[in-house]
């Protein structure tokens, strides 16, 4: 986790801002937290955020800073309101001029944003660019929330959100940890197009979700996503095949999925255990992670019972 540039508020002398911060800090220590919040909201700085990454956009909404959001990328599909904002395009094919045109005062991006040259250009044009680390763990979500909270001066909201999430997380995990049944073998399939069917191995967001849900990833012979091979699928013998909703649409629903090579020769194929969740919801590792885990757990449990 690193900041490429220190956050600086334009149009406000450093000393004055420093002074304000000290006052804010003094308030926070001396008085009730609400007063510090009051001091924060009375600031007349209009922050303009461009968020690159669906998970980060969700965090900004969850922290109640959506009014400061002026641009998002194509993966920011939730909440619905985010899709109405100007899109700076695909996270890996950003345009420096396009971002600067939104006159942001802060660019938040995940590690996979790019091209690097474009982010450098935005940085040298005087807009602070913060790259947030991507990791597929619950603690990673908490870290990102805290980090974003610090960057947009909403640490109090971030702490609230954090404690809320920790509760939800425990609640989502409890039934999974209490379960005594054997872990089903789950195969995750990602398909952007019918010609590109990929299987999720270790060290993928899908693998992390499957593990959290108390299931086993049916393929553990490789890291990352690899093209689907029929023999490997048959060898994996998955009990359930997990898709993203988008991917399920691409392969043509459950019937189309059954036609994928090798799938019919697995327990999952024979019993038609094909389930799907919306991609960003399931794999976004944002504030909706506890709900996503519960949803996935229910899907898998139902599939195994049905």
């Amino acid at each position: 986790m690193f900041d490429l540039f220190n956050e600086q508020n334009e149009g406000m002398p450093q000393s004055r801002r420093h002074f304000l911060n000290q006052i804010g800090a003094a308030f926070a220590i001396a008085c009730l937290p609400q007063l510090a919040l009051g001091a924060e909201s009375s600031k007349k700085m209009t922050r303009r955020i461009v968020s690159v990454g669906g998970g980060l956009t969700e965090i900004i909404y969850a922290l109640g800073a959506e009014k400061e959001l002026v641009g998002v990328d194509t993966t920011s599909l939730y909440p619905e309101a985010a899709t109405k904002l100007p899109s700076v395009g695909y996270a890996r094919a950003l345009s420096s001029e396009g971002i600067l045109a939104l006159s942001p005062t802060l660019v938040l991006a995940t590690e996979d944003a790019g091209p690097p040259a474009v982010l450098r250009q935005v940085g040298t044009a005087g807009v602070p660019v913060s790259i947030l680390s991507a990791n597929d763990k619950f603690e990673g979500v908490i870290e990102r929330i805290q980090h974003v909270g610090r960057l947009i001066e909403r640490s109090a909201q971030a702490s609230q959100l954090e404690s809320q999430l920790r509760q939800d997380w425990q609640r989502a995990l409890a039934p999974i940890l209490a379960r005594k049944t054997s872990a089903p073998r789950v195969l995750f399939i990602l398909s952007h197009s019918p010609a590109q069917i990929m299987v999720g191995g270790r060290k993928t967001s899908a693998d992390a979700m499957i593990a959290y849900a108390g299931a086993r990833n049916a393929v553990d012979g490789f890291d990352g996503f690899k093209p689907l091979t029929p023999e490997a699928v048959i060898a994996a013998q998955p009990d359930i095949v997990l898709f993203t909703e988008q991917g399920m649409g691409v392969v043509g629903g459950v019937d189309g999925a059954l036609k994928l090579p090798g799938l019919a020769q697995t327990p999952a194929g024979q019993k038609r255990r094909m389930v799907a969740l919306e991609a960003m919801f399931m794999l976004g590792f944002g504030p909706r992670l506890p709900q996503a885990l519960s949803a996935l757990d229910q899907l898998l449990t139902k599939a195994m019972q049905g």
Binding site: G89, L94, S95, E97, G98, P115, Q121
Partner: protein, 358 residues
């Protein structure tokens, strides 16, 4: 294939129902189009630029530029220059390759030069990342272009030595070697994509689509110098290139040292193509289409073909890149999509005309 060329060469612009003076003064017309294209590209973009910004850029004061002026000077103008230079370089390398092979479909892509560069870059992306060697940031910025360029040059050397070893001074041997190298490079790239992690894969795929987003003045200057040197080197070759159009034996009879000529042309193609691929990834169609357009305008004489092809290439890439960065503001679309959009229909029209015959 040679009949194809001769058909093309006989069909100049007057056959296409355009006025005669176009055919006699195409350079003026093309320069005019290019200049107006540059002007249009400079005024178009996500950030509005006013004449105040132009003044701020031209005044060259000590104050750091901001807003529209910053965008104009640090982002838009270098990118425009980049598009013009890369377009010219690609078109020139295409024109040279087509002349050398006396084959209208020959371009650095066919030779395997482009794939060689891409292959080297792919290896760099995947192997370096998995070896875990830490590279200082300043170096990393130059590493990919450097290896891509090295890949292009390496392919050219392999091409030349293998072809010479196979068949003394024949173009066919070179062509076949190019095809084999292409297949080899494709296999290596395929292996790299298999070994690549998801993240590397995206770097790889973005790089194979091509983009001019990395433009800056320093690189543009290097490109400009390279291109000027290439044109200077070309001036001495055009005559021999024209002789070569008659066939290798005939060219040798009129006193052309075919082997030396081939070596020089190949190196030129490697340098131009390597630089273009190194900084912008793989941008297709320009090298193939630009020389064709010019042949339709003025015929196959290299003395006119090469400079005019450069102009046309510059215009084409400038159009494509301006479209790429303005069609979906504030997002950007990969430029390769637009070069293909411009190139493919043109090619189909060309083929349709060929069917009708002369």
């Amino acid at each position: 294939m040679t009949s194809f060329i001769s058909q093309l060469s006989r069909r100049t612009i007057t056959d296409w129902g355009l006025p005669q003076w176009f055919a006699s003064k195409p350079a003026w017309l093309l320069s005019l189009i290019l200049i107006s294209g540059v002007w249009a590209a400079a005024t178009m973009g996500a950030v509005p630029v006013t004449w105040h910004d132009w003044l701020a850029v031209l005044q060259n004061s000590d104050e750091p530029l901001s807003g529209g002026a910053y965008v104009l000077w640090h982002l838009r103008l270098p990118r425009i220059l980049f598009a013009v230079l890369i377009g010219a370089a690609l078109a020139l390398s295409g024109a040279l390759a087509q002349g050398l092979f006396r084959n209208p479909l020959a371009d650095p892509g066919l030779l395997g030069v482009t794939s060689g560069a891409a292959c080297a870059a792919a290896l760099t992306i995947v192997l370096l990342a998995s070896s875990g060697i830490e590279i200082p940031t300043a170096l990393r910025y130059w590493l990919l272009p450097a290896t891509a360029f090295a890949g292009a040059v390496a392919v050219c050397f392999i091409l030349d030595s293998v072809a010479r070893w196979l068949t003394a001074d024949s173009i066919a041997g070179l062509l076949l070697t190019g095809i084999a190298l292409n297949a080899l490079a494709a296999a290596v790239i395929g292996l790299c994509t298999y070994l690549a992690t998801d993240e590397q894969l995206r770097t790889l795929s973005f790089w194979t689509l091509g983009s001019l987003a990395g433009a800056n003045w320093a690189v543009a200057c290097v490109l400009l110098i390279t291109l000027v040197l290439a044109v200077w080197a070309l001036r001495q070759l055009t005559h021999a290139m024209n002789a070569l159009a008659l066939g290798e034996a005939a060219a040798a009879h009129v006193g052309v040292n075919v082997r030396a000529l081939r070596m020089r042309v190949i190196m030129l193609v490697a340098v131009l193509c390597g630089f273009a691929v190194a900084w912008c990834g793989m941008i297709g169609f320009i090298g193939l289409v630009a020389p064709h357009i010019v042949r339709l305008l003025v015929g196959p004489d290299q003395r006119r073909l090469a400079p005019l092809a450069m102009l046309v290439g510059a215009i084409l890439l400038l159009l494509a890149d301006t479209a790429a960065r303005t069609v979906a503001i504030p997002a950007e679309i990969p430029v390769g999509i637009f070069t293909a959009l411009l190139g493919a229909p043109f090619f189909l029209v060309l083929l349709a005309r060929m069917r009708k015959g002369v």
